[in-house]
């Protein structure tokens, strides 16, 4: 039995909501395959009030062993370091203090979602809550627990980044931990599980032909590539988002016609420009594919633009296919 405890810090509840669709049957059912037991979850458990606090106290006092502490949501440290922007209901202590104490008892600490990992939307400019992640504040190591934090297993906090993460990222990470554990080498530089973070969100994008030919959508609902005009960051964002799909056999952000906003990345809440527009300098997007020399990108883009078939050009600026594929000379 692998015991997990789930707490919601400064969260929208969306990571839990996503988890409830895991593998088309919900997190708890899906986790049964890995012999995972949920000690307490704020949305799913019967225990409320004192009974719920009793479970937390048992963990703190060592009467109940804890394999994984899962935290969803940013840690709200304000105002003035008091943590009063989120007190754990029924107690006189801040959620930040509860998390810091419980983290010391856990074999693994898991940040579920970008908020718990890096701070996310609640730490965007203008926020007064002094929000942060468990061991990051944006892309700077630190956060609530500090950059040197290691849980009892010796691992840093495992960051299942994503806003919200794919439910199966959550499920598979907990599955890995429950069936033999994880090692540091299985985590990337931001401590995200590499099984999904070693991919780019761009991989498997259904708009790939438009990307190859730099045939771009001019406005929403167009079929073309979303990178040149509409702010898509899939070539720079970690995630196998377009290799596995979301909510059934269909879904993904770019497939549904809106840009990847790099929600798995620290600092995604504060883009260089507007979320839905591509930041450019001298007409050239500043966010180019992560590991491609800029000069080559520009040269290839110019070349592919000049080779773009009429079909791809026309369909890119339409909301449905207006020119179907045909061999050269066969079309009208």
């Amino acid at each position: 039995m692998f015991n997990i405890l789930w707490l919601q810090a400064g969260s929208c509840g969306g990571c839990t909501m996503a988890a409830l669709t895991a593998e088309d049957r919900g997190l708890i059912q899906a986790l049964k395959a890995f012999d995972v037991n949920v000690l307490w979850h704020p949305a799913l458990s019967l225990e409320t009030g004192e009974d719920a606090l009793g479970i937390l106290q048992d963990v703190l006092d060592g009467r109940q062993s804890l394999d994984a502490l899962c935290v969803e949501g940013s840690v709200l440290r304000g105002p003035g370091g008091s943590g009063r922007f989120q007190m754990l209901a029924g107690t006189d202590r801040s959620m930040a203090a509860w998390i810091a104490d419980l983290a010391l008892r856990a074999r693994y600490v898991v940040a579920v979602g970008t908020c718990a990992a890096f701070g996310g939307i609640p730490m965007a400019d203008g926020a007064v809550t002094d929000a942060c992640g468990l061991t990051y504040e944006g892309d700077e190591a630190g956060g609530l627990l500090g950059s040197n934090f290691r849980s009892r297993s010796g691992l840093p906090v495992i960051n299942i980044a994503g806003c919200a993460p794919h439910p199966d990222w959550i499920c598979e990470t907990l599955g890995l931990l429950a069936t033999g554990g994880m090692e540091a080498a299985q985590l990337d530089a931001f401590s995200r599980p590499r099984f999904y973070a070693d991919h780019l969100a761009h991989h498997g994008c259904s708009r790939n032909e438009y990307y190859e030919f730099k045939a771009s959508a001019k406005r929403f609902s167009h079929l073309g590539c979303l990178m040149e005009n509409l702010g898509c960051k899939a070539t720079q964002a970690a995630g196998d988002c377009n290799i596995r799909s979301w909510n059934g056999s269909m879904g993904s952000c770019p497939d549904a016609g809106f840009p990847c906003i790099a929600c798995t990345s620290p600092g995604f809440e504060q883009p260089t420009d507007a979320f839905q527009e591509t930041a450019k300098r001298a007409g050239i997007p500043i966010g180019l594919p992560v590991d491609m020399p800029k000069a080559w990108f520009i040269a290839l883009a110019a070349l592919s633009k000049s080779a773009t078939p009429e079909r791809v050009k026309s369909n890119a600026v339409s909301d449905h296919v207006v020119v179907p594929p045909a061999r050269l000379g066969e079309s009208e």
């Binding site: 929208c12 669709t21 088309d24």
Partner: protein, 483 residues
């Protein structure tokens, strides 16, 4: 008098603490506290206007689509555009799928597990209820999670993912469903209908959607019970525990009207005051702050601001206290169906308040009605018709807009003012801000605080069971409440 504090009050969305003053075995006064603040209205200030489309769904992972629709509607209002009908049909389908998923989640995961508490161990229905609704392990729980995941495939087909899509824009939808997608939508809806008919109701959806009065409801519950369906289980427990006698709230209901197409709402907007129907009175709104951790004076959301003040004297919640002409109102499925004139709900409520029982019945009736509407919208979707308008460029815009929608839990309003393409002002009033507001300047309790008064509380560990039923009958979403 004794005091009891219940927290963390779980199986609600987000952070909730309930404080009770108890005298002679009954709640004399209740204070509900939203115990977490993130500050979206402050984050939005100064941002490019279209950023609201990316940020606002993240107010709430439960009713993320409702937040998207309210945002898109507020910006469309400001831009003076009307989304094409085909786009609106798609938006309504996704919005309805989320609202229906919320009703199912509430019934199976949040509300019914309370009847598996040890305090009910001697009841004739206890073993059956436990097998069906036990938290984390009941057979009904695994059944609903599979059905819910399938229902939310509608979001995968139309808007990429759930929660937190950006597909809902002021100009419409970013994705035009093709013929294949329309068939997949039909297929999901057929599975959803099967679940509701076979597992929840034990009878055709049309029976539930068209129930005319109390007597017909009794027959429907007996039919469900005989079919081994979960609505029957609820009905049996509700009769046995007299749930209709508890959680009686105010007699004022409000709905912004739901599922707009071409200016026409499928569930009409308005207010109901002690049985009398009125038009919606948005200019009479004000958010009171006297018992909330904010500085400032009561104001309409067009002017109101959000300045946290954790030291405010007498404050006990991060929720503001919205009022209509100084009066608290109740929102949610029951308000929506009463205001829309559903004959069963009018019969059950009369000119009086809602209660634990009728709030659940309203969600069930509405669930059936939603599926019928969705089936109609899918039939009307045209694969080649436009879903999105070319919108004027955001950076040159100035003006103000309002987006009023109905989330599963009730009326959600966004008020925005833009200057030169930047957000100058953004205020949100969420459904649970109405229902779970603290007291106002006149000392009037919010809707759930009032509904809790008089609720019996026995000594001992589970003596507060009825309090749990009353609070959860409202289906609070605290994440939205404070935002």
């Amino acid at each position: 008098m004794t005091r009891r504090i219940i927290g963390p009050f779980n199986r609600v969305e987000g952070d909730l603490e309930v404080r009770l003053d108890i005298a002679a075995g009954k709640v004399e006064a209740a204070r509900v506290s939203a115990s977490m603040y993130r500050g979206f209205e402050q984050i939005l200030h100064g941002r490019p206007m279209m950023d609201a489309i990316s940020i606002n769904p993240r107010i709430c992972g439960i009713c993320s689509v409702s937040q998207s629709v309210a945002t898109a509607d507020a910006l469309a209002d400001l831009l003076g555009i009307v989304q094409p009908e085909n786009g609106r049909l798609g938006i309504n389908l996704v919005h309805a799928a989320e609202n229906l998923a919320d009703h199912l989640t509430h019934f199976y995961l949040f509300f019914m597990p309370d009847f598996t508490r040890a305090v009910y161990g001697q009841k004739p229905w206890f073993d059956d209820a436990s097998a069906r609704f036990a938290a984390k392990s009941g057979r009904g729980q695994s059944a609903v999670l599979a059905a819910r995941a399938r229902l939310l495939n509608i979001t995968g087909i139309l808007v990429g993912k759930w929660p937190h899509t950006l597909a809902i824009q002021p100009g419409g939808l970013t994705h035009a469903p093709d013929e294949g997608a329309c068939m997949r939508l039909k297929s999901v809806l057929a599975d959803t209908r099967t679940f509701l008919q076979d597992v929840l109701f034990g009878q055709p959806l049309e029976h539930i959607a068209n129930l005319e009065g109390r007597q017909a409801l009794g027959v429907a519950i007996d039919t469900a019970l005989a079919a081994g369906a979960d609505f029957g289980r609820f009905g049996r427990i509700a009769r046995n525990l007299s749930l209709e006698a508890y959680g009686q709230g105010y007699t004022r209901f409000m709905s912004f009207g739901a599922y707009l197409i071409a200016g026409e709402a499928a569930f009409a907007p308005g207010m109901m005051d002690a049985g009398t129907r009125h038009a919606l009175r948005v200019p009479d709104f004000a958010e009171e702050l006297s018992h909330s951790w904010y500085s400032g004076e009561p104001a309409h959301p067009e002017q109101g601001e959000t300045h946290p003040d954790a030291d405010r004297e007498g404050a006990y919640s991060w929720s503001k206290a919205p009022r209509v002409a100084g009066e608290p109102v109740e929102v949610g499925a029951i308000a929506r169906q009463v205001v829309a004139g559903h004959s069963l709900m009018l019969d059950l409520v009369g000119g009086g308040p809602a209660n634990v029982y009728t709030r659940i019945v309203a969600r069930m009736v509405e669930s059936a009605r939603i599926v019928l509407l969705m089936e109609d919208w899918v039939r009307r979707l045209e694969p080649l018709a436009p879903v999105n308008l070319d919108t004027p460029h955001a950076s040159q815009q100035s003006g103000s807009g309002v987006g009023l929608v109905e989330a599963a839990r009730g009326s959600l309003g966004h008020w925005v003012r833009i200057e030169a393409g930047r957000i100058e002002h953004y205020q949100i009033i969420a459904p649970t801000t109405w229902n779970f507001s603290p007291r106002d300047g006149a000392g009037k309790p919010g809707a759930v605080e009032y509904a809790l008064e008089g609720t019996p509380v026995a000594d001992g560990d589970e003596g507060d069971a009825m309090v749990q039923h009353v609070v959860r009958s409202f289906d609070p979403c605290m994440a939205c409440t404070v935002h």
